[in-house]
């Protein structure tokens, strides 16, 4: 906005001689206008200088992002139209990669695994993290200690998590032992294609829940206490307060949590890579893992790029909502 003003207002040819003339007329409008030019004139080059500084300090960021984010994306689109094995130069094949992917049972299976992972790691996390946040918003003994304890999974590196849970999922591991106390037969967690994906999903939930709990807590604490006081005066029940005050006001936070969670879930890699390598029987080969294997184990770069484009399409839908959420309210500024 200001940029437009400055380009219209100070015609550079407004010499000092103008000023006394304006003073001699002295209608309020003229005084204001001359004051503005007087204020503007020295600032004109200054504003330029400032703008230049403002641009200069964002250039490094833009350069890094252009080279290491946008350029690869453009290249991914190009590569997806080629056959490329890192040895021979890329050969243009049109949409052949996409066409063959859509008929590749392994790819379709991988897409299905990813969707299952996303769906079942996002849906339970929402009520769990919201529930925890609501509980922490009550008065609780040793609140900080408990909150730190429940937050701990966020602190564990993904690779460590994969190693530790692999150990716990062993046939004679601690999880089966604990389940044995409840009279449940040992489950072949990572060795059976029927359970492996669920085992991986469980870890995702364990990791994600405290993370989004923190976001929900921030959302809850942003709700003005007046609303609750008013509800109390009106004699609202606890459930009614939650249902008609808390939930509606948390809606943006909820949307954000869902979107972020979906994006994170679509990108899951380290845990299935280390725990199962995609097996058994491809049951945990999520899309990023399949892309990695296609590119760096089978050196089929074109095909991997085509898969990336599919993954990108999936991520983009949700990222778009996220960006919209992040920029919402900016118009008013």
């Amino acid at each position: 906005m200001r940029a437009d003003e400055s380009s219209v207002l100070p015609r550079p040819a407004s010499p000092m001689a103008n000023v006394p003339a304006a003073e001699s007329v002295l209608t309020p409008a003229v005084v204001r206008a001359s004051a503005r030019t007087a204020r503007r004139r020295p600032r004109w080059s200054l504003a330029r200088k400032q703008a230049a500084f403002g641009i200069a300090i964002i250039v490094p960021t833009l350069a890094v992002l252009a080279i290491f984010r946008f350029l690869p994306m453009v290249q991914a689109l190009y590569l997806s139209l080629t056959a490329y094995d890192l040895v021979h130069p890329p050969r243009f094949v049109g949409l052949a990669n996409f066409a063959s992917l859509l008929h590749d049972p392994l790819f379709l299976k991988s897409a299905r695994v990813s969707l299952t992972y996303v769906l079942f790691s996002v849906v339970p996390v929402l009520p769990l993290s919201l529930g925890l946040a609501v509980l922490f918003n009550q008065s609780v003994f040793v609140k900080n200690l408990l909150r730190s304890a429940i937050f701990m999974p966020v602190v564990m590196p993904a690779v460590v998590m994969a190693v530790v849970w692999t150990f716990m999922y062993q046939q004679d591991g601690v999880i089966n032992t604990l389940l044995g106390f409840l009279g449940i037969e040992p489950i072949p967690w990572l060795r059976s294609s029927a359970t492996a994906l669920w085992a991986v999903i469980l870890i995702g939930i364990w990791r994600a829940t405290p993370y989004y709990m923190v976001i929900f807590l921030a959302g809850l604490q942003a709700i003005p206490a007046d609303y609750y006081d008013a509800a109390k005066i009106d004699g609202a029940s606890r459930w009614g307060t939650f249902r008609y005050i808390t939930l509606p006001l948390l809606k943006p936070t909820m949307l954000l949590v869902i979107v972020m969670n979906v994006i994170v879930a679509m990108k899951v890699f380290a845990v299935p890579m280390i725990m199962t390598g995609g097996g058994p029987a491809d049951s945990t080969r999520v899309l990023p893992l399949f892309i990695y294997q296609t590119a760096f184990e089978f050196f089929d770069m074109g095909r991997a790029a085509a898969m990336s484009v599919f993954l990108f399409a999936g991520v983009m839908v949700f990222s778009f909502i996220q960006v919209r959420l992040f920029t919402r309210g900016d118009e008013s500024r």
Partner: protein, 296 residues
Amino acid sequence: MTGVVQGRDRTPMRNAPRRSVRSLRRHRARLIVTGVLAAIACVTLLPFYWMLSSSLKTMETMFSLPIQWLPWPPNWMSYVLAWQAQDFTRYFLNSGFVAVAITLSNLLLCSLAGYSLTKFHYRGRGVTFLAVLSTMMLPLEVTMVPLFLIIKRLDWANTYQGLIVPFLVDGFGVFLMRQYMMSIPRDLIDSARIDGASELRIFWTIVLPLAKPALVALAVFTFREAWDMYIWPLIIITKDSLRTLPLGISLFMSSYGTSWDQLMAIAVLGTLPMILLFFFLQRAFIQGIAATGLKE
């Protein structure tokens, strides 16, 4: 709170017993909530506890029943053996160096970009911000194949710059700093300008100190991500001397797959820096995450 409740109550005589019942009930509710949360905390902490206790067991007692909750005497040898099995000192230093470098550069570049996007006026600022934001749509998992080709062409495979440079700045970090810097009053900056301070000086001595809470949150957030990074080093690093800790751990897992005592020892050591960071910078840690949910 209680005042309101009393006010509604018309019969003062019943006030006293009612209140005590109420407070008892509240007390009980508080105990129940605490109990539920404590139970959940046990679930979230179980892997940590199991990792620690198993690292101190021997392979003989590892799977013994009944469960040995407190391994005694502790088997410290697993730590020594694991540490010596591979060059973990090197992996730790590599990870630390890479994570610190990425964090420092993000602190500088994200705050500069955030400052530019909030306190300067130039054509295309809005578009620039959108472009930065849209990089969040391009996760590494999508761009890793061409990014690998770029790094290969630069001859940066198996180098530190290959690990660091693509992550010098991050769209989310810019977003975070921008949001925070919007709250810094422009008057402060303008009056410094009138005092004749140079733009860089203003940034360094006025803007950065004011943005400290956001910087700490960003630092913790970025460090955690960088320390955690797995897929990228897996792609571009094949030389042992450049392996980061996650690579070292996963390699250790595939070559010593059943030495659970040593694996858990390495797992403990790999988590330790993050736990320390968490305990010293707990508020920043949580604020960094909470900030991802804030839009204002």
